[in-house]
């Protein structure tokens, strides 16, 4: 944003050098795509780690097959694999990094940063984000953080290995033998985390400012598409929930680098070092509190962008307004607020005490109310619609039941008595993977198929899309449903050999748990096979992304889905600065199938016919007057 007096109007025709256009761009759309590609790469890497882990679970005594192990060097294999088999340490490392990568480097950047960056300014009719340079900085800090975390795989210590939650004192003790702590995977995880938090702070300040300040004329709060509302709430979640984790990260960094004892209790003993040379009196519980203060809002940071994508796609494909737009807006605001005071339901087994557990149990059950409002509204939105089963709609439709399973399996975990049994079992894994994988990822896939025409000017291929969708849907369920079964049978989530050590071999034996394990252990192979299938059937998607970019069917208009929100008013793909003329908004976001209108959709930006003579003055003042929708529906928007 230079104050120089060069002509701003011909920016569209400026020829920028390629590295400014594609690499160090300040354009929100380019940054969004950069985020998307980087997050996609991280997701694939995280997926690969998971496949190796699943191999170890199903076939703990069998060396990794060549197609999984070719990526490692001989030296790496000698150090981290036991004759080609995954060891417990390596499994821990992969597990920790799988979680970290999927949550912090994959899904959050894909949902919030990629889709948010690309779509939000378009939907509010803004030329760009409020602080374009901060936006660019945000991406590069994110990438640096991510690479630092992943680079540690190649160091002597290996990558972080104390779970994605990085609980102290385990995380404080891990890699203690490394003399230069800057070169320990566990430390680099923390440094990476601090960078990621910095990045998301820059991002969220930018998002909230943009949404508050840069809305187009006439785009009042209750005319915002639900997507923008979700992004606003997500922005606030990131803004306020991440800093306490940053505090915890800094404290843990001090524990590692400066020898302090923030999270190290007195008299800590390690097998290799004896009583550790620490002052003690720290509190592991404090770390868990600070971590989950972020951790739970983080769940909604993952979820809201996916719900937001689905909420955009459903009205466009059912050709009717989103059912209960206002309740959904309020639900998402309340959801965001409540998500800050439910965190300790992750910690029922820490010995916090029953009174505080009851408090958190109550708030946790409360938060299911807004979640159910969101899901129910979207399901009811389908009712009576003439549904067009386009590619994005198929994904969105699958999102609803899949997320439903994910959400409902969470209820038993909210109650602390039930959680005593289920805590740290595969049931928990099954629950949150149902939320994240077939839930959130399906929502985001829907978003990719939905906005791809706007980004590239070409549709994604339908055949490849179906080849991607149906096998993925089946594989996801074969992958995650057995986890719920195993979890209820007591399978612990961190067994690297799938529970082999617990099997009771004698069928008449009295070891009941061993019998249960023996009964359910074959499910490991089912799940592993499903995971391989899932990996295989992501190939059509990757091919589709590339092939459609060059040879896909071209869009014939700027609004190929006949949708109503502002992003479809831009040229395809939108140039730098987005809109050719400053857009004005005249009505709510989902005006489909209005009986008084000749087409079955009425875009937000289309001028009402009878207001033309007043337009020259000020559209902002004019807009509410011209809007006859609200008076018709009787909802009476506040002016």
């Amino acid at each position: 944003m230079s104050a120089e007096s060069h002509d701003h109007h011909d920016d569209h025709h400026h020829v920028l050098p390629w590295w400014k256009k594609y690499l160090f761009s300040t354009d929100h759309k380019t940054i969004g795509i950069q985020y998307g590609l980087a997050a996609g790469a991280f997701l694939l890497f995280g997926f690969f780690l998971m496949i190796v882990m699943r191999w170890s679970i199903a076939y703990p005594h069998e060396p990794l097959p060549g197609y999984l192990s070719w990526i490692f060097t001989d030296g790496w294999k000698a150090r981290w694999l036991d004759d080609g088999k995954v060891t417990g340490d390596t499994y821990n490392m992969f597990g920790a990094m799988h979680g970290t990568i999927m949550v912090f480097l994959g899904v959050v950047p894909l949902g919030f940063a990629a889709f948010g960056n690309y779509v939000t300014p378009l939907q509010i009719g803004a030329p760009d984000m409020a602080f374009p340079k901060l936006n660019m900085a945000s991406f590069w800090v994110y990438l640096a953080g991510g690479l630092i975390m992943c680079m540690s795989f190649f160091m002597e210590s290996g990558a972080a290995k104390s779970g994605w939650t990085n609980y102290s004192p385990l995380a404080g003790v891990a890699d203690r033998q490394i003399v230069n702590q800057l070169l320990a995977g566990q430390t680099q995880w923390l440094i990476g985390l601090v960078l990621l938090i910095t990045s998301s702070l820059l991002g969220s300040v930018n998002f909230v400012t943009t949404i508050i300040q840069l809305r187009a004329k006439g785009l009042t709060w209750m005319r915002l598409p639900f997507f923008v509302w979700a992004m606003l709430v997500t922005g606030f979640l990131l803004l306020l929930a991440f800093p306490p984790l940053e505090a915890a990260g800094i404290m843990q960094l001090m524990d590692r680098m400066a020898g302090s004892s923030f999270f190290m209790p007195s008299g800590l003993f390690s097998k290799s070092d004896g009583v550790l040379d620490l002052s003690g009196s720290g509190s592991p519980l404090l770390y868990q509190h600070l971590f989950w203060f972020l951790g739970h809002p983080e769940v909604y940071v993952l979820l809201l962008p996916a719900i937001a994508c689905v909420a955009e796609i459903i009205p466009a494909n059912t050709r009717k307004p989103l059912w209960g737009y206002k309740p959904m807006v309020w639900a998402v605001v309340i959801l965001g607020f409540l998500s800050f005071i439910v965190w300790a339901h992750h910690m029922y087994l820490t010995g916090m005490g029953p009174v505080i557990s009851t408090f958190f149990q109550t708030t946790t059950v409360l938060i299911s109310v807004p979640s159910v409002i969101l899901l129910t509204s979207m399901i009811i939105s389908l009712w009576g619609g003439s549904i067009r089963f386009t590619m994005p709609m198929i994904w969105a439709a699958a999102f609803l039941p899949m997320f439903g399973i994910g959400g409902l399996t969470g209820l038993p975990l909210a109650f602390n008595l039930a959680d005593l049994h289920l805590h740290d079992t595969y049931y928990v894994i099954g629950h949150f993977h149902y939320v994240v994988a077939p839930g959130i990822l399906f929502g985001l896939f829907a978003g990719v198929y939905h906005w791809y025409p706007k980004m590239t000017g070409r549709f994604m291929d339908n055949t490849l899309g179906h080849l991607h969708f149906w096998p993925s849907l089946v594989a996801m369920n074969f992958l995650f449903f057995p986890m719920l079964t195993q979890g209820m049978a007591g399978f612990h989530r961190r067994w690297y050999n799938g529970g082999e050590g617990y099997i009771e071999k004698d069928p008449e034996g009295i070891n009941i748990f061993g019998q249960t394990v023996a009964e359910n252990i074959h499910l490991n192979e089912v799940m592993t096979t499903a995971a391989f299938a899932l990996a295989l059937f992501q190939l059509p998607f990757l091919i589709n992304m590339v092939v459609s970019y060059f040879w896909g069917k071209k869009v014939t208009s700027d609004n190929p889905w006949d949708a109503t929100t502002l992003e479809w008013a831009t040229p395809t793909p939108p140039g730098h600065g987005n809109f050719v003329t400053d857009p004005s908004v005249y009505r709510g976001p989902y005006e489909y199938s209005r009986p008084d209108h000749d087409k079955d959709y009425f875009p937000q930006w289309e001028e009402p016919k009878r207001s033309t003579e007043q337009e020259s003055d000020s559209p902002a003042e004019l807009a509410p007057v011209a809007d006859d929708v609200e008076s018709q529906s009787g909802e009476g928007e506040a002016h």
Binding site: M1, H61, S261, S270, D273, S279
Partner: protein, 558 residues
């Protein structure tokens, strides 16, 4: 393309973009410091050691508070000057603000520096409860004369701080599984006196082939060579064994055909059978590279090891294991901590005694601090000065208790169990004579408040005062550290919060400095925009001040 509302406010919100941005940023800062203050609260309320109350010298903190408040006033004046388009005044006020920031950081540096050089030792052993007495002071510089430590001049080349482990090294063994830490290797090479040779004790053979011959002198390059040879050998071995494993599993799968329920156990049995055979077959093929390399030392020499490099659990009388798994064999010499004591603290001992239901005074009396007989090489006198200091303290305490009783009050634990550095100076000036202390207390001439005594600006001044000396044997040292985050959770949170706050000060100063030094151009083209920027920068600056307003009482006065 132009982004709207950069300079002028948007009508319905009444704000320009960067103002919304900075307030959002400050909101996140509130939760950042909220998280840190939660940490402080939690650690303090539930500490299992006596929390150091009012332990920092107040004066530096007080001056820093004044400095920051002053800079808050000038930064808002600088903004006002810009609003009134007075460039010169803006420059003056902004310069003062930056000067304040610099002064703040300098004072902070002085405080930090004093703590980095201030040593604390928590004792261990003893009865009836574990001796948790704390001795604070400055570590002396010493040097080695033969096997003994002697006092050394500060500027002596060979001098080192007397908290090191002195170990007579006879041989050293490097683990090859993990690369040896180069700094350690270098330390050993550097400390070896002229003429002492460190050579490979045996041929290093991989699969019958000699990689390095016996008698090769130790060097960084040769260690690299050994490590590379070892890694190469185990890679090859692993490859062979993996191939055998894979073949076995192929056989099992072919043998078993389609898996069915219960096959898992059967497969395992088959695999175990098969494995025995595999081991027989691949054993002769293995290269068997030794996982460690031993080096002989031609004449044992005294190695100084930093205690941080040798975890306490891995220290032995005849063997030391460094953090990179390097094993040094030899003999541990007496490695006492020699220091000038400026404070003694029995609060931890008392706290633990009370928990065990023992009279605190009894536990204190049996502490090593009061029972030991001074001896030795480093320390000149043979009288237990610390015991005399404690007797002086009792004399003062009896006076203080009587004085407070008249007001219906009681001495605090700190009064009872801690000899602070200003008290230590006072007792020392009265020759550690309890009678003199008592009478000086009665006269009210024992010591004045040191709030405005600049010689004790950041703590005890060891240049000006002479403090009693003590030589603490290594086996009595339970835990030792300078006053860094390692010493206890109070100093950990103190350094973390003030350090983070200091980073904020530096960051804010950089931004404000940018406006001062590079703002002229913008002032001429768009002064209102610059005023907006300064206002936003100022908001951040006020926030930094605001955090300090809480930090000062919490860390210095409570």
């Amino acid at each position: 393309m132009e982004i709207p509302f950069v300079v002028n406010a948007r009508k319905d919100t009444g704000l320009f973009n960067s103002k919304v941005g900075i307030w959002l940023f400050l909101a996140s800062e509130v939760t950042l410091f909220g998280g840190l203050f939660s940490g402080y609260l939690f650690l303090r309320l539930f500490a299992d050691f006596p929390w150091p109350e009012r332990t920092l010298p107040v004066l530096p903190g007080l001056i820093n508070t004044f400095v920051l408040i002053g800079s808050s006033v000038t930064v808002v004046f600088a903004w006002a000057a810009l609003k009134m388009r007075e460039w010169r005044k803006f420059q003056i006020h902004m310069s003062i603000t930056l000067a304040c920031a610099a002064l703040f950081m300098v004072l902070k540096g002085i405080e930090y520096n004093a703590k980095f050089h201030h040593q604390a030792v928590r004792l261990s052993g003893g009865s009836p409860v574990e001796d948790f007495a704390v001795i604070e002071g400055h570590v002396h510089k010493v040097k080695l004369e033969g096997d003994h430590l002697v006092h050394a001049d500060k500027n002596d080349q060979e001098a080192f701080y007397a908290n090191q482990l002195i170990f007579k090294a006879e041989s050293v063994t490097f683990a090859l599984k993990r690369p040896a830490h180069e700094a350690y290797l270098q330390m050993i090479l550097d400390q070896a006196p002229e003429g002492v040779e460190i050579t490979l004790a045996d041929d290093y053979k991989v699969g019958g082939e000699v990689i390095l011959e016996k008698g090769e002198p130790l060097s960084v390059e040769m260690m690299d060579q050994l490590e590379a040879a070892y890694l190469d050998a185990i890679s090859k071995d692993t490859k062979i064994r993996t191939a055998f494993e894979k073949a076995s599993w192929k056989w099992i799968r072919d043998e078993k055909g389609v898996t069915e329920q219960g096959t898992y156990v059967v497969e395992m049995d088959l695999w175990k059978e098969r494995r025995k055979e595999d081991v027989k077959n691949y054993s002769p093929l293995m290269l068997r590279a030794p996982a460690e390399a031993e080096f002989a030392i031609s004449a044992p020499f005294n190695l100084r090891l930093d205690p941080d490099d040798v975890p306490p659990g891995l220290r032995g009388d005849s063997q030391m294991t460094l953090r990179d798994d390097t094993v040094i064999k030899g003999q541990l010499l007496e490695s006492p901590i020699v220091m000038a004591v400026d404070a003694i603290d029995f609060r931890h001992t008392a706290m633990r005694a009370e928990k065990e239901g023992i009279d605190p005074m009894k536990a204190i009396e049996s502490s090593w601090v009061l029972t030991h007989q001074p001896k030795g090489h480093g320390v000149e006198h043979s009288e237990n000065t610390l015991k005399k200091a404690w007797e002086c303290h009792q004399a003062w305490l009896s006076f203080e208790t009587e004085r407070l009783e008249k007001k219906g009050r009681k001495p605090t634990d700190q009064d009872k169990y801690r000899i602070n550095w200003d008290q230590m100076i006072a007792y020392q000036q009265l020759d550690f004579d309890p009678q003199k202390v008592r009478s000086a207390s009665d006269d009210g001439t024992l010591y004045e408040t040191h709030l405005f005594d600049l010689s004790g600006f950041a703590g005890a001044n060891h240049d000006k005062h002479h403090f009693p000396e003590v030589e603490i044997p290594r086996e009595k040292v339970g835990f030792e550290s300078t006053f860094t985050p390692k010493w206890n959770t109070y100093y950990a949170i103190y350094f973390t919060i003030t350090g983070l706050h200091g980073l904020h000060v530096i960051g804010g100063a950089i931004v404000l400095g940018y406006y001062l030094f590079f703002g002229r151009k913008m002032y001429e083209s768009n002064p209102e925009w610059l005023a907006n920027r300064v206002e936003v920068g100022g908001l951040f600056w006020h926030f930094v001040d605001l955090v300090w307003i809480f930090l000062f009482p919490i860390l210095y006065l409570m």
